[in-house]
Subunit: 350 residues, 2 copies
């Protein structure tokens, strides 16, 4: 069986969770569940049953290097991007470095800021995806939709792949749909949510990329060739800014699906991208919040008493320098608040 | 013309303004309008056109002595009650002390925590009340009602008093009415709000009290007899706890009205007792609050960014140790929140 390497792209500010999340303290660094483990630490914990610590690779922005190293003391492979260039360069660089050491290695990429309450069933799905990837497919793990969400892209599956428990061929990747389309997808039973989980042999991923985005693949492989050498940082700084800024979905998954090269393992484990306060609400509030004819979610500093009177389905978020109060049904609009901070000369709160 | 003395009873925690107001920092010590002057300072400012600083008397609880002295550096006469015994002992003791020096002096009592935006018209009403008081009446200044409020007691006026611009005899004082009764009062035009403003000769006030509550009047005059002597504090501590705990309305105003001894000057100046956050709302929010499809009132510390999204008619109140969010229509219920703090072992927030 091939060696499995986990790639954890740790990016995204999580603007819709402001003021909990900030540029300097993005969502993946937060302990949103109050378990004592942050989201990236929980992601790390989910990988350990699948591979060893030295085969886990975190790719993030330079600004977060020290916070990540502090939260993940056993992390060996930390790749720091000079600037954000979307998911394909991030995942692709890690894959290219792994490929040089072991072209047959299977790599899997998993976001650093998602919540998966059942790590056992997650591991089962990844293990099936690895066996499918060993047959040459790029495999995505799709999430069985629980509602007609318009917040996620969808994956349409085709026929089952012979010889596997649940894997199916992918017909197509579709962007975030409108509400009616989402309802149709849910009703059809053939669509799963795209959670950005991709599993493939390192060489398969990069060879596919080389066909669809030859310059990007060549650039990534050129940088990877200097990994472990004194010239690496200089080469990264020189080449990185010219790489195409593109998501792995567009760069590989969509065109490869059209050729029949993509597979999907439908996952039944619970999953949440914790994208806004409505998704945080089920995780509960800080201790000792007082609700009087009121409900919702409230998060605050220890020692700060939060009280809510006569308001339903609200979020109250207290931090030392900002307080946000919102109707949970409008959680997606928090980015409008963040967008207006500069005009108040409060860039310090971003 | 008689000498006029102002008595300012400074009491009441202002529980419905929690967490802005606390036991240790009651409403009268707060600058709710953001003008740089607290409510008791503004009350002081309103008195100065009517009398001199040495004729202004503040009566408050012992716990607030130093804060009041700090806020009113020109204050000479500060009476500190050993324990709260309602308004009649507080006002009566100050009146008894004034009476000993000058029985013909006219005293006027005015709460320390009300808002009167037009001090000129307030002074005019007090001046008329003084001339009526010189004829032997106990005079109240009644507020022309602007709505059928159920939060205030009402005063029913009878015939105009000959020789005065607007003063009328008082028929009766009535407690806080129900909503239908309040509407009837408003429609009749004969009712004004009882704002607890009383003006009378010191001797008339105490002689009236001596008829209705002889023990209380005697007790107050006995304490006053020691004013300025070394025995005052001991006498106050000995006698005060046995004095009747009673409001001036019940002790004097109601029974005297029944005898025809009360007069009312209907006031046309704006007045607000700032009793809850709904009454604070028109005063405006802290600077730079962000409202996105939202409105209401928000108060917070300087430097703390408050943002509200998708909620109408709400109050958001941030302090260093507590955050309160409420539907402004339920402002009167804030005391329920305060009532539940002990069960959370947060007596420190009272």
């Amino acid at each position: 069986m091939s060696t499995f390497h986990a790639i954890i792209p740790a990016g995204g500010a999580g603007t819709r969770l402001w003021p909990l999340s900030r540029r300097s303290r993005p969502k993946f660094l937060l302990d949103l569940e109050g378990t004592g483990r942050t989201l990236i630490q929980q992601t790390w914990d989910r990988m350990l049953p699948l591979t060893s610590a030295e085969n886990i690779h975190v790719v993030s922005g330079a600004a977060h290097g020290s916070a990540i190293a502090e939260q993940l003391p056993e992390l060996v492979n930390l790749l720091l991007e000079p600037s954000p260039r979307d998911s394909m360069p991030a995942i692709g660089l890690a894959a290219a470095i792994i490929e040089r050491a072991d072209p047959d290695a299977v790599v899997g990429s998993f976001a650093a800021d998602h919540r998966i309450p059942d790590p056992e069933r997650f591991a089962e799905a990844v293990r099936e995806a690895i066996t499918v990837a060993e047959q040459g497919y790029v495999v995505t793990i799709g999430i069985s939709p629980t509602e007609p969400s318009t917040a996620f892209g969808y994956i349409e599956s085709a026929d089952p792949l012979a010889g596997f428990a649940s894997a199916r061929a992918v017909r197509t990747f579709v962007e975030k749909p409108d509400e009616q389309t989402a309802r149709d997808y849910l009703a059809s039973g053939d669509f799963v949510w795209n959670a950005g989980m991709f599993v493939a042999r390192a060489s398969v991923l990069l060879d596919s990329l080389a066909r669809f985005q030859p310059e990007l693949a060549a650039g990534l492989r050129a940088i990877a060739a200097t990994w472990g050498k004194p010239t690496f940082v200089a080469e990264l700084g020189r080449s990185w800014p010219s790489l195409a800024k593109i998501a792995i979905d567009h760069a590989v998954a969509e065109p490869l699906a059209a050729e029949g090269g993509m597979a999907v393992v439908p996952a039944t484990f619970g999953w949440d991208d914790l994208g806004d306060f409505a998704s945080i609400a089920p995780l509960g509030s800080s201790p000792d919040v007082l609700w009087v004819d009121a409900d919702g979610v409230a998060r605050g500093e220890e020692g700060v008493q939060i009280a809510v009177l006569g308001l339903r389905n609200v979020a109250v978020v207290q931090t030392p320098d900002a307080v946000l109060v919102l109707d949970l049904a409008q959680s997606q609009r928090v980015k409008e608040i963040v967008g207006r901070l500069p005009e108040l000369e409060r860039d310090d709160l971003l």
